[in-house]
């Protein structure tokens, strides 16, 4: 019993018996997944398998969609994020997210990164400035934008915009970083930059990434979960999933036989 509690405390993400419905559609079926601190977990599977839906459960982004329903529990650092006393805006400070399409705000580069700080009530100018610079550096974007922090974020390239969105997410120092196909809209060079970045960020954050790119999953992640038709078929060390998967379905998918 006590050892069980201690074990649970080490987990950053702990989803138990999660079922999720879009109205009548049963999108996730009994998902159980445990993620330790400072690990990168890749979610793979064919389109519509529920991996993005699962990712969006972790910062309660699905709350925005009408007619959805969830059962089961999701603990982040031991806290049930679906408990009635949880405020979503506070949760989302802990669980940052990077979206598939770069979505910088129509503001300057500086203001994009400062946004999360400002909406969370931080007014100290020097703190904001330091934090913005630090975040842009962490997102490996500093050298490219240091001379034009006051220029519009829209003037950046797609890959730069995506790294700006990562910087924006880092600025509020989340514990978990969710990435929903962060490189799918980018060219190969930008993609490899994002992948290097994920490798760096692992030191400070726990990361969950949805990807359609098998090489990417195998390169960046420690563990991989394979989703199919709303079920998690297999969840194991990435090296195991990609060399010797237990399930035939997993093997078929990663070898490109379907999906």
């Amino acid at each position: 019993m006590t050892s069980d509690i201690r074990h649970k405390k080490m987990l950053t993400i702990d989803a138990k018996n999660v079922d999720f419905y879009y109205s009548e559609f049963h999108a996730l079926k009994n998902i159980n997944i445990e993620v330790e601190k400072n690990k990168v977990v890749a979610l793979i599977g064919p389109s519509g398998c529920g991996k993005s839906t699962f990712l969006r459960l972790l910062n309660r982004m699905n709350d925005l969609i009408d007619g959805t329903r969830m059962t089961g529990s999701v603990l982040i650092e031991g806290k049930d994020i679906y408990a009635p006393n949880i405020h979503v805006d506070e949760l989302r400070k802990e669980v940052g997210m990077v979206f598939q399409k770069p979505n910088p705000f129509p503001k300057s580069i500086f203001e994009n990164v400062a946004y999360g700080l400002r909406v969370n009530g931080i007014k100290d100018k020097t703190f904001i400035e330091e934090r913005v610079i630090e975040s842009i550096k962490s997102a490996a974007l500093w050298n490219e934008v240091k001379d034009k922090l006051n220029k519009s974020a829209f003037a950046l390239s797609g890959g730069q915009q995506q790294r700006l969105c990562i910087a924006r997410a880092l600025a509020i120092s989340p514990k978990v970083l969710l990435m929903d196909e962060p490189a799918s809209a980018l060219d190969p060079i930008s993609t490899s930059k994002i992948e290097e970045l994920i490798y760096e960020l692992k030191k400070d954050y726990t990361i969950m990434i949805v990807t359609h790119n098998m090489q990417q999953a195998s390169r960046v992640s420690d563990k991989t979960a394979y989703f199919y038709l709303g079920e998690m078929i297999e969840y194991d060390d990435t090296i195991k999933i990609f060399t010797n998967p237990t399930e035939l379905s997993t093997q078929n998918y990663i070898t490109g036989r379907f999906g």
Binding site: D89, M97, K101, P106, V119, A169, I172
Partner: protein, 295 residues
């Protein structure tokens, strides 16, 4: 695959039918422009003779067959300002509520259906309603206040609709991006959604001004004076207004034939005001959409 069998002169036929179709489309769209130019040209050629500095700055004289239309211009401006004060805040906030807070729920659908119905109500019905409610029941009398409220009601559906449409045009990914950073819904609306939607909202507002300034029926029983050469001093005064003045001197003036020139002059002033308002709308939209991008 087997190659497609030669189907005779089908290629030529489809190109000809495309050519014919687009020629018809082109003629139709040109004819719209031609009609507009015709109307404008007609009003300008008939009305330009009446325009003078005195016409714009003096009150009507001699049974409205001479003099100017200054009180009517001022009256219309008062009504536009008054109705905007009423319809803009209510309309914008309703639009925000419907698109940002109550998406898809029954209340929003109900409000949407009602506002759509409201926009289909003939303007003379608004006039009657305004008279009954504002003039008689609330005892505002025939006044700028009663007329502004009536015109405000009339333009409310338009304001709500443009606000809602402008907000709808903002990609959801911006809202998600903001919410994912721990912003509340209100912060997201204030700091991200509204600034992005602003250029289109302002265009809608200005177009509703154009609409309001040309309406006759709603002011008929609520504010418009047949002849009132002095300017209003309070919101409980009656005023003259351009569209009603135009109606009066064309149908029931003291000497309709003698005031023909003035009627066309008034029409020209009204059209120019609406035109300026529309150009302003375009200018502001371009200005603000540039500003939003770079700021």
């Amino acid at each position: 695959m087997t190659p497609i069998i030669n189907t005779g002169n089908i290629d030529r036929k489809k190109r000809i039918s495309q050519g014919v179709a687009f020629t018809i489309f082109k003629l139709m769209s040109y004819s719209v422009v031609a009609m507009l130019i015709l109307i404008l040209g007609f009003i300008v050629s008939k009305g330009i003779g009446a325009i003078s500095w005195d016409f714009l700055t003096k009150a009507p004289e001699e049974g409205m067959t001479k003099g100017g239309i200054f009180p009517a211009i001022v009256g219309t401006l008062c009504l536009v300002a008054g109705s905007s004060l009423f319809s803009f805040p209510i309309g914008i906030m309703s639009g925000i509520y419907m698109n940002e807070y109550a998406t898809g729920n029954k209340v929003a659908t109900f409000i949407r259906i009602m506002t759509n119905n409201l926009s289909g109500v003939p303007s003379v019905v608004f006039g009657l309603f305004g008279m009954s409610l504002f003039v008689n029941t609330m005892k505002f009398g025939d006044s700028i206040l009663a007329g502004s409220l009536t015109l405000g009601l009339l333009s409310l559906p338009l304001v709500i609709r443009t606000t809602e449409e402008s907000l709808k045009a903002i990609d959801n990914s911006y809202r998600e991006g903001s919410l994912a950073l721990g912003a509340t819904k209100l912060q997201t609306i204030q700091k991200v959604v509204l600034p992005m939607a602003f250029p289109n909202i302002i265009t809608g507002l200005i177009l509703s001004i154009g609409r309001v300034s040309g309406e006759t029926a709603p002011i008929l029983f609520t504010v418009a004076a047949y002849f009132l050469p002095k300017l209003p001093t309070s919101i409980f005064d009656q005023v003259m207004a351009l569209p009603y003045h135009l109606y009066v001197i064309s149908t029931s003036g003291t000497d309709i034939e003698a005031s023909r020139g003035i009627a066309y002059g008034t029409a020209l002033v009204l059209i120019v005001i609406v035109l300026i308002v529309n150009l302003l709308a375009n200018f502001l939209r371009n200005y603000f959409s540039k500003k939003v991008k770079t700021n």
